[in-house]
């Protein structure tokens, strides 16, 4: 384990200055992923800049009726927030579906977005991995990949993003805000994660030196009837093998608006816009739900051992939307 220095930043400007002064610095949120990676030598920072004193730990309403979530809000506080639970129930459910109570008490919103894949070839050192060692190859392609990507992958990397929270954020058109030494900026979540392409080691579109300050949830009435369902290989404390954030507005049996995002299918949360388009204006029934899922999954390119994800996701879409349609009818 490399010896590292530790500094606690007083405010955002201080954090940015510390990060700028040390090229091998890493910002430290809850440490629930970064510290693990340091123990295994995958991350070897020279300096940790602890963000816990930054004034980014609040959830506040925006002028247009949305919510601003600070970057250091813990996962536990996010899931417990009354406005989140009322207006974006799928987000609260997604957060609670992740990790364990102890980890959620530490993990932050910013850190959750930036967590690394749990692909065993990335976290273990013996095999090639283009994320860990660019150009070395992807061992998962021909190896163990039953929980790897079926959408949007490339021959250079088939790892999936592990976050549950980000799936719900993707469904709700969240915008990531950040600060750089040159000033603030923002990225819609849809553009936050880069396509895999031939550079899987480049994961986000954040400019160099940027520090995430928060996430803005624009007002979304449809989100009030929303749900997150996560399928995993045990009942708790496991990453998804397939998950769905869904919101549905049905009137007179017709789908007025629908939001769908998949988790554990790609290198990023997968907003299912094809499915949304296919379903909008249709009768809210199982046949239409299945057709919508199929419309999205037509682009899937499963590997030899992860094809089961397609029927699984289809089942999730039909099951969750059926439940939401029933809820909307009540």
């Amino acid at each position: 384990m490399r010896e590292f220095r530790y500094r606690r930043a007083a405010d955002v400007a201080d954090a940015l200055a510390l990060l700028e002064a040390e090229p091998e610095a890493r910002p430290l949120g809850g440490g629930t992923n970064l510290v693990d990676l340091m123990k295994t030598g995958i991350e070897r920072p020279a300096l940790l800049v602890d963000l816990r004193d930054l004034p980014l730990d609040r959830i506040t309403p925006t002028a247009d009726g949305g919510l601003r979530v600070g970057a250091t809000v813990t996962n536990s506080d996010l899931a417990a927030h009354p406005q989140v639970r009322l207006h974006f129930p799928a987000l609260a459910q997604a957060v609670l579906a992740g990790a364990s109570g102890q980890l959620r008490n530490m993990a932050t919103v910013g850190g959750n977005l930036l967590q690394r894949t749990r692909c065993g070839y990335f976290t273990g050192a013996a095999a090639p991995c283009n994320k860990r060692l660019p150009g070395s190859g992807c061992a998962a392609l021909t190896g163990e990949h039953h929980n790897h990507a079926v959408l949007g992958a490339s021959p250079h990397c088939v790892a999936v993003h592990p976050s549950d929270m980000a799936v719900a954020l993707a469904a709700f058109d969240a915008v990531v805000t950040y600060e750089t030494p040159g000033g603030p900026g923002e990225l819609p979540l849809a553009e936050f994660y880069l396509p895999v392409g031939s550079t899987p080691q480049l994961e986000t579109a954040l400019p160099p030196g940027a520090l995430i300050t928060g996430v803005v949830l624009p007002p979304a009435p449809v989100a009030a009837v929303s749900r997150y369902r996560k399928v995993r290989e045990r009942a708790s404390y496991a990453f998804a093998i397939g998950s769905l954030a869904a919101a549905l507005d049905v009137r007179d049996g017709i789908v007025r608006e629908v939001r769908l995002a998949f988790g554990a299918v790609a290198s990023r949360p997968w907003r299912a816009r094809q499915a949304e388009r296919a379903l909008t204006g249709q009768h809210a029934d199982a046949v239409a739900f299945a057709a919508a899922a199929d419309a999205e999954l037509a682009a899937a390119r499963p590997l030899p051992h992860n094809g089961y994800k397609l029927p699984l996701l289809r089942d999730l879409v039909v099951g969750v939307l059926t439940e939401l349609a029933e809820e909307a009818a009540r």
Binding site: E3, A126, G143, E233, R234, Y237, Y308, L312
Partner: protein, 708 residues
């Protein structure tokens, strides 16, 4: 004071619940595990595992490592002290002990060096940046049925590799109903919460060792043998052990390296394994590929039983997972055959893991019986009742009690089995299909010679000393209860000291024989002490001590089939769309002799049942054939049941007296994990109509399995 036993009426501590004596120390952190013991001048060793699966170490840049901050030494095959070749330890020949004795790399993760430094962090940094090159050779880690390298040995560690009576083929041909099915189980790892750790130092010509071990005496004896030391010069303690399950029963590399390093440096050295190293250096349960053929008359009476089991071992040491032995005492048939075979692969050496053989073997055979019951149109319990043997099917020996059907009767009553609709796939609860299943369980009851000493003190208290191990089971507490009853005093007057090799030879915590073997020795000594005190013998200032040795008593036990039995029940819910399986409740009813401490006994039994749950649904070490290593060497990737997976699990027992048995205690450490996976898998069939024969039943296997 002439008698110490007149302070009050005789107590009956055995059979009443007692909290763990060291429980408070454990939950407050006061209890010291092997890595917690301080020492002046302590140095820290860090193991460097090989990064290739087969080959030779070509070069190793220890010169650069030695220049790094705090580094004191780099041990490797070029400079390590010589160990006893052809080492034969408590569990037979064991070449896995030959660390740094050669340059061969037999599997990915084999120790190629150990960096010793002032701090663990310095040792780790130097270990992880140590440049090692290899001459690699092609490896084979691909375990599969029909592997051309498979062979059947004469003997396994636990008995013959094969048994055969009658003509299996003829009986199959004459059977009305035949089940012929292949089953597989995944590579499983013990991964006790406490990682293996050892601290060693020389003190006045004596090697003082603290190790995390299931048997202080055996480990000390083996360690002395390995290093060519006088056994009396090795003192080993393991006061608290945070789980063992079979992987802490033998000398492991961390201990060898701590001794090598302290001998070289002349200062105390501690070596602790990382969680990832726990997946390569301490043994595991081999994957198995099993085939069961059953032939029966239309009435369900077995005519043929054949169970063949293939497992993997390393190129270093032969260890065979004895899965097919399960049927040798459980079910009879005129044609009866059990066969083990094994294949040597470039993988770490497997070892005993909780219910070795019985856990995977009971899964295959008890699931095959469920299939037979279905084909015969019989209730699964009725099928088993129809096949109760009069004597040991293979041994011909009489049973020293066999209350299997009583376990089923009591379990069926409490579980609500009677009136169960046998049809599969017809009970729905929302998106879930619901079903129930059952299976039998057994585990042999053995004992091994042990010695103990019990001392009466002038103040009316007693001290018992025995090299037992409490690996979290509550052994210390159970032995205190047993000693108190034998002395006829309250447990508060008895102190039991354990886990110290200086206390003399004693069996280790394994084979479900710990409490039985140790309790026997303590009871013998305590009874004699009580009798001598009752006769008026004086207690000298340093106490009156009686020693016992059960070797003669153990070896003169009459020959019987001695086993514990159990009936396992499970209710599961399966979502065929998502592949999720949730166990809703489990019940195990056991006939397991005299239960010493109902509180901790229940924990052990339910713990075993949860192991079965994890085996059925979760546990799977995934080996990458390209690198030869595992891809999930942490507890985020290697799943065991989380709390949310563990439903209402109930374990109970029925009276199981054996008047011919001088102890009456049977082991309970393993039987909870026997049959429990089968009960769950059978319930999955009852829920869905789909027979899953490959464990774990992952969601992808459910989703992809054709539905009936």
């Amino acid at each position: 004071m002439t008698t110490a036993t007149t302070g009050g009426p005789a107590t009956r501590a055995v059979g009443t619940p007692h909290v763990r004596l060291e429980g408070r120390d454990k939950v407050t952190g006061a209890a010291r595990y092997a890595a917690d013991h301080p020492a002046d001048g302590l140095a820290h060793g860090w193991i460097v595992p090989s990064t290739v699966a087969r080959g030779r170490v070509r070069s190793l840049d220890d010169a650069s490592a030695l220049k790094m901050p705090g580094v004191l030494a780099v041990l490797h095959h070029g400079n390590a002290s010589r160990l006893t070749e052809d080492f034969v330890g408590t569990f037979g020949p064991d070449a896995t002990t030959q660390v740094f004795q050669h340059d061969r790399v037999p599997y990915l993760g084999w120790p190629v060096a150990c960096v010793v430094a002032e701090t663990p962090e310095q040792a780790r940094e130097a270990a992880e940046t140590l440049a090692v090159t290899y001459a690699t050779e092609p490896h084979d880690v691909d375990f599969r049925p029909g592997h051309p390298g498979a062979y059947t040995p004469e003997e396994m560690a636990v008995g013959p590799a094969c048994t055969e009576k009658g003509d299996v083929e003829a009986e199959l041909a004459a059977s009305d109903v035949v089940v012929d099915a292949h089953y597989s189980t995944a590579e499983e790892h013990h991964s006790p919460m406490e990682p293996h750790a050892a601290m060693a130092r020389w003190d006045d010509g004596r090697l003082e060792v603290v190790d995390s071990t299931q048997g202080a005496y055996a480990t000390a004896r083996d360690l002395a043998l390995l290093f060519g030391l006088d056994p009396a010069s090795v003192h080993l303690r393991s006061e608290h052990v945070g789980g063992g399950f079979g992987c802490k029963a033998q000398v492991r590399p961390h201990l060898i390296l701590a001794v090598m390093a302290t001998t070289l440096l002349g200062r105390p050295v501690r070596v602790v394994l990382t969680r990832a190293q726990m997946f390569t250096l301490i043994g595991h349960r081999s994957p198995t590929a099993q085939r069961v053929r059953l032939g029966a008359g239309a009435d369900g009476r077995l005519r043929a039983l054949e169970h063949t089991a293939l497992s993997a071992t390393s190129t270093v040491r032969e260890f065979i997972e004895p899965s097919a032995q399960y049927g040798r005492s459980m079910y009879d048939a005129d044609g009866h055959r059990t066969v083990h075979s094994v294949v040597r692969l470039d993988v770490p050496t497997p070892t005993y893991m909780r219910a070795p053989g019985e856990a995977p073997g009971s899964f295959a055979l008890e699931c095959a019986l469920d299939e037979l019951a279905e084909r015969c149109g019989l209730d699964p319990i009725a099928l088993r009742a129809r096949n109760e043997p009069a004597v040991g099917p293979v041994s011909g020996l009489p049973f020293a009690g066999r209350r299997l059907l009583d376990c089923f009767a009591e379990g069926a009553r409490r579980f609500g089995w009677d009136g169960r609709d046998p049809r599969p796939g017809v009970r729905r609860d929302g998106r879930w299909l619901v079903g129930t299943g059952t299976a039998a369980a057994t585990f042999f009851t053995g004992a091994r010679p042990s010695t103990a000493a019990v001392t009466a003190h002038a103040d009316g208290t007693f001290t018992a000393r025995i090299a037992a191990a409490d690996i979290g089971t509550g052994a210390r507490t159970a032995l205190t209860q047993l000693a108190a009853d034998a002395l006829e005093v309250t447990p508060g007057r008895v102190r039991v000291l354990i886990a110290d090799s200086d206390f003399g030879d004693a069996w280790l915590a394994g084979g479900s024989m710990g409490t039985r073997s140790w309790g026997w020795a303590i009871t013998l000594a305590a009874r004699e002490l009580r009798e001598r005190l009752a006769l008026g013998e004086d207690i000298p200032p340093d106490g009156l001590t009686v020693r016992s040795d059960t070797e003669q008593a153990v070896n003169s036990l009459a020959a019987y089939e001695r086993h514990a039995y159990g009936a396992q029940f499970a209710e599961v819910a399966v979502d065929p769309g998502s592949g999720e399986i949730r166990v809703r409740r489990m019940l195990g009813v056991f006939a397991a002799g005299r239960i010493v401490n109902p509180l901790t006994a229940r924990s052990q039994l339910t713990g075993g049942m949860i192991w079965g749950l994890s085996m059925a649904l979760h546990e799977e070490a995934v080996r990458d054939t390209a690198t030869g290593g595992l891809v999930n060497t942490d507890l985020a990737g290697y799943h065991i049941a989380a709390h949310a997976d563990v439903p209402a699990v109930e374990a109970d027992w029925i009276d199981d007296p054996d008047p011919d048995d001088p102890v009456g205690i049977k082991g309970i450490g393993e039987i909870g994990g026997v049959g429990s996976a089968a009960a769950i898998v059978n319930a999955v069939w009852h829920a869905t109509g789909v027979r899953h024969r490959d464990l774990p039943i992952r969601p992808d296997r459910v989703v992809l399995m054709p539905r009936p």
